[in-house]
């Protein structure tokens, strides 16, 4: 390429060259995501106006009042969307509204909002400013609104849709506002917007780069019709575009009143100062940490289509006020699986982890991450290419909320100031039911249940985790009202929010429990469920400082039976408990099965039962340090079994009265400490006999082993090794072909020798 360019340059006169440059500039074939925007997560430089203002005498009292007014407006618009939104995600808090500086840096979000949603909007916003604002066929005017959902232009996944609007004052853009909802349905190959079955970006449904759908504060009906025509739920698409627009319009109205009352100078200064203050404070906090390196990793046990071991590598280095997050050595991207993530989405989720679990006292904007650098391998799971599908990016992204938390805990423990209690891992997989079909009202729909918001919290250094408290990506989201859901959907919950006994990360402080839910379908035209989570072979949320991880989880089904008949004829045979139901197998003729947590869309007959758990948080500290009285309380609350109390916590008590025997407990724990010393081996001796030079040959392994520059992919004779700088996507075989080959081999073996 370079050679040809040089030859051409040599042959062109200055005028010709200028003509060529102008032609190329004006005639882009396609405006894809711009790496200059997408790979830069730092706050931009001050504008001249901002610089002049921040170098002038500012009235801190006025700035504080402006900040308060903006927060009130963001809170108000959050409530508007929550009250009016149609998407289940909107009703239960998976949304945000936000305000940005004139150059597009996120300055503030609604106090209750989900940080990650607005933490990605500055990418499409900067794209609009760079490409559309000056394009004669598009432009940027007062009253314009841009819709967007493609994560390659900046988003978490394409089920979230945003409305982005410029705010004009005296003919110039003074700031921007946005409103984002997890919408769900987006016309993908499976209903509900998160298709585990997607094998290419073309299977993922709507892929909207930012485009103008609103002119003069009105939704353009032709474009809205195109969007409605592209998804399963035209009502959802219609209503929520309008809901997001009106939230933006209300924000703009409030901003205008701020300008009228305090002047545009105070608004501009406040928006910029929000960001700079956080950046300065973050650098100060990094300087408080010890210099050094902390290494951690996590293993994901599947692609949602097959079981494979996928490494997420994370090394954090701190030196002075610099922090580097190095995720190199992680798995290559999967060319035909949907669990890849773009680098921008990854960074936004890690930044959110900082705001939720590390420095929750900071104002919520992206400056919390501006001082941090990220190193990644291109074409990897965590920095996937333009062509890689990414609609189930939540699989690695959810780990991005907890892995940095674990790493940073080791930097923060020695710091003289705590900004929050040291936190173990929140549960970190998107367990919920995704559904699709025709409702009892004859409407076609597809979406997800808000139970994704019911994850157990991690244990802290001073207390147990909270049960089913929040999703790992937010803190004010709810799990939904079943009665409201049943009015709209043909989905019935036979058991809801039944805490998952014995399924939690144990420790000195235990994680918060998740809950079991048993659901079925009734009065549907056609109906089906899917689930999209990993962590069925290898635990998902790891513990801290001796604490244990969350357990692994199993999707359970009772099929080929109508449980409503059973409830009519023999109600006693139906136990309202997942474990009892599965172990007793009391319903005659039913087919019981236990599976991985990832299930592609599956049609369901009325009365068939599907059962999952919300995951539990991880533990903190040594189980033998747990206050025996807390163990007794867990027994009283039926959170653990006697077996767990005795075999794991080594607590001695009377089984009937639950009266603690303090002395016997002390002796039992001392005995366990002695037996640990007997069974433990010196480190060097252990390493010499246990460690292997490469991943076990029969294990489908993706990612580095001990050397992060050597990346493995696959198993057996098919395994390849890639070097850093030359990572390539991996194409997986169709699981059905794999199964057919297995069965054919069995058949051949069985019939061999029969002639």
């Amino acid at each position: 390429m370079g050679h040809t360019d040089n030859q051409m340059k040599a042959a062109l006169s200055a005028d010709e060259q200028a003509l060529l440059d102008t032609f190329l500039e004006e005639n882009s074939l396609f405006y894809g995501p711009d790496p200059a925007i997408m790979r830069d997560h730092h706050i931009g430089p001050r504008t001249e106006v901002e610089d002049a203002l921040l170098n002038s005498e500012l009235d801190p009292h006025a700035l504080n009042l402006v900040r308060g007014r903006l927060h009130a407006a963001l809170d108000e618009t959050y409530d508007m969307v929550e009250q009016m939104g149609t998407a289940p995600g909107a009703k239960w808090g998976d949304l945000v509204t936000a305000v940005y500086t004139a150059t597009g840096d996120l300055s503030s979000i609604s106090p209750k909002g989900v940080v990650v949603f607005s933490g990605v909007c500055h990418y499409p916003l900067k794209f609009i400013a760079k490409y559309w604002a000056h394009d004669p066929t598009v432009g940027l005017r007062e009253g314009d609104g841009f819709i967007h959902n493609d994560s390659r232009y900046g988003n978490i996944h394409n089920t979230d849709q945003s409305m982005i609007m410029p705010v004009f004052h005296e003919g110039e853009v003074i700031c921007w506002v946005s409103s984002t909802i997890h919408e769900g349905e987006n016309g993908a190959c499976e209903p509900g917007g998160m298709p585990a079955a997607a094998e290419s970006k073309w299977d993922e449904g709507l892929k909207m780069p930012p485009f103008r759908i609103v002119e003069n504060n009105q939704v353009r009906r032709d474009l809205l019709t195109f969007l409605q025509n592209s998804v399963r739920d035209p009502k959802l698409q219609y209503e929520d575009v309008k809901v997001k627009l009106h939230a933006c319009l209300r924000l703009i109205e409030r901003i205008r009143s701020v300008i009228a009352e305090y002047g545009k100078e105070n608004l501009i200064a406040c928006l910029r100062k929000n960001i700079e203050d956080v950046d300065v404070e973050v650098r100060r906090r990094i300087r408080e940490m010890p210099d050094g390196t902390v290494r951690t990793h996590a293993f994901i046990d599947g692609t949602l289509r097959e079981n494979v071991l996928i490494k997420y590598n994370l090394t954090v280095t701190v030196k002075g006020e610099h922090m580097i997050l190095d995720v190199r050595g992680s798995s290559p991207e999967f060319t035909n699986r949907s669990i890849n993530t773009t680098l921008a989405s990854l960074k936004t989720c890690i930044a959110t982890a900082y705001l939720l679990y590390i420095w929750p006292d900071l104002p919520h904007n992206m400056a919390c991450f501006s001082a941090v650098e990220v190193l990644s391998d291109e074409n990897s799971l965590l920095d996937s290419s333009f062509d890689a599908p990414n609609c189930m990016s939540l699989i690695p992204l959810f780990k991005s909320f907890t892995l940095p938390t674990i790493a940073l805990a080791k930097f923060m423990y020695s710091c003289p100031t705590r900004y929050t209690a040291i936190y173990s891992s929140h549960f970190n997989q998107p367990y919920t039911f995704i559904y699709g079909g025709v409702t009892q009202h004859g409407e076609v729909t597809g979406n997800f249940c808000a139970d994704i918001n019911g994850n157990g919290g991690g244990a802290r250094e001073n207390r147990d985790g909270e049960h089913a408290v929040a999703p790992c990506f937010g803190y004010m989201c709810d799990t939904g009202e079943q009665e409201l859901i049943e009015e709209e959907l043909p989905v019935l919950r036979l058991v809801a929010q039944h805490l998952t006994k014995d399924r939690v990360g144990f420790g000195k402080y235990r994680g918060g429990l998740g809950y079991e839910q048993l659901i079925t379908s009734r009065d549907a035209g056609f109906w089906g469920f899917m689930t999209g989570g990993t962590g069925s072979l290898h635990p998902s949320a790891y513990g801290l400082f001796g604490g244990y991880a969350s357990p692994v989880y199993t999707l359970c089904k009772i099929r080929e039976v109508n449980v409503f008949d059973t409830l009519k004829t023999d109600p006693r045979s139906f136990k309202f408990d997942l474990v009892e139901l599965m172990n007793e197998q009391a319903i005659p003729g039913a087919k019981y099965g236990a599976y991985d947590m990832g299930m592609t869309f599956e049609p369901v007959q009325e009365g068939e039962v599907y059962m999952i758990c919300q995951g539990a948080g991880a533990g903190y500290g040594d189980v033998l340090d747990r206050d025996p009285n807390l163990v007794i309380r867990d027994l009283e609350e039926d959170l653990i079994s006697h077996e767990t109390a005795r075999a794991l916590y080594h607590v001695v008590y009377d089984t009937d009265s639950l009266v603690l025997d303090v002395e016997a407990t002390r002796a039992a724990r001392a005995a366990e400490r002695e037996s640990r010393k007997r069974r433990g081996k010196p480190f060097d001796e252990f390493v010499a006999e246990w460690v292997r030079p490469e991943p076990p040959e029969d294990l489908p392994y993706y990612g580095s082993w001990d050397d992060p520059t050597r990346i493995y992919a696959g198993q057996g004779a098919g395994r390849v090794v890639m070097q850093r700088g030359a990572v390539q996507g991996v194409m997986m075989p169709n699981p059905k072909d794999v199964r057919i080959a297995e069965l054919e081999a069995q058949l051949a073996a069985a019939t061999a020798g029969r002639g």
Partner: protein, 136 residues
């Protein structure tokens, strides 16, 4: 001066050694991997995360698969405290998870008062105080 680095580990800056915070046992040079001075046990993860479903009926049972998940437990050789757990893949080299710059650490603590018990912001307490401030 002894700097607490985790729930169970401190670095003694004078001796440049990792120490157990429970029993004071001197573990390993602070310039090396602290794990080298601990005992390791390859725990079957199913002993901690027990199968809840009948394993004669189901392959999946809420218990990890030992071929896919190893659980290393690190014990203090003196007091038997479970200093750290490491969930990994069978045969994967244990992580050198904490490698601090001891000279920088010493310089950092030169002007700081000796570590006392750190005040942990108690969320309930903070919310109570906030409510009081807003009440008047």
């Amino acid at each position: 001066m002894k700097i607490p680095m985790t729930e169970y580990l401190a670095i003694d800056l004078d001796r440049e050694m990792w120490e157990c915070r429970c029993c004071g046992h001197v573990i390993q040079s602070a310039r090396e991997n602290y794990k080298k001075g601990l005992l390791v046990y390859d725990r079957n993860p199913r002993e901690i995360h027990k199968p809840l479903l009948d394993t004669t009926k189901y392959q999946r049972s809420f218990a990890p698969d030992p071929a896919w998940c190893a659980l290393l437990e690190y014990y203090c050789p003196s007091c038997g405290t479970l200093v750290e757990t490491e969930y990994t893949v069978p045969g994967h080299p244990p992580l050198h998870d904490m490698e601090f710059d001891i000279d920088a650490l010493r310089a950092q603590w030169k002007d700081r008062p000796a570590p006392a018990s750190v005040e942990i912001p108690d969320d309930d307490e903070r919310i109570r105080k906030l409510r009081e401030t807003h009440a008047h």
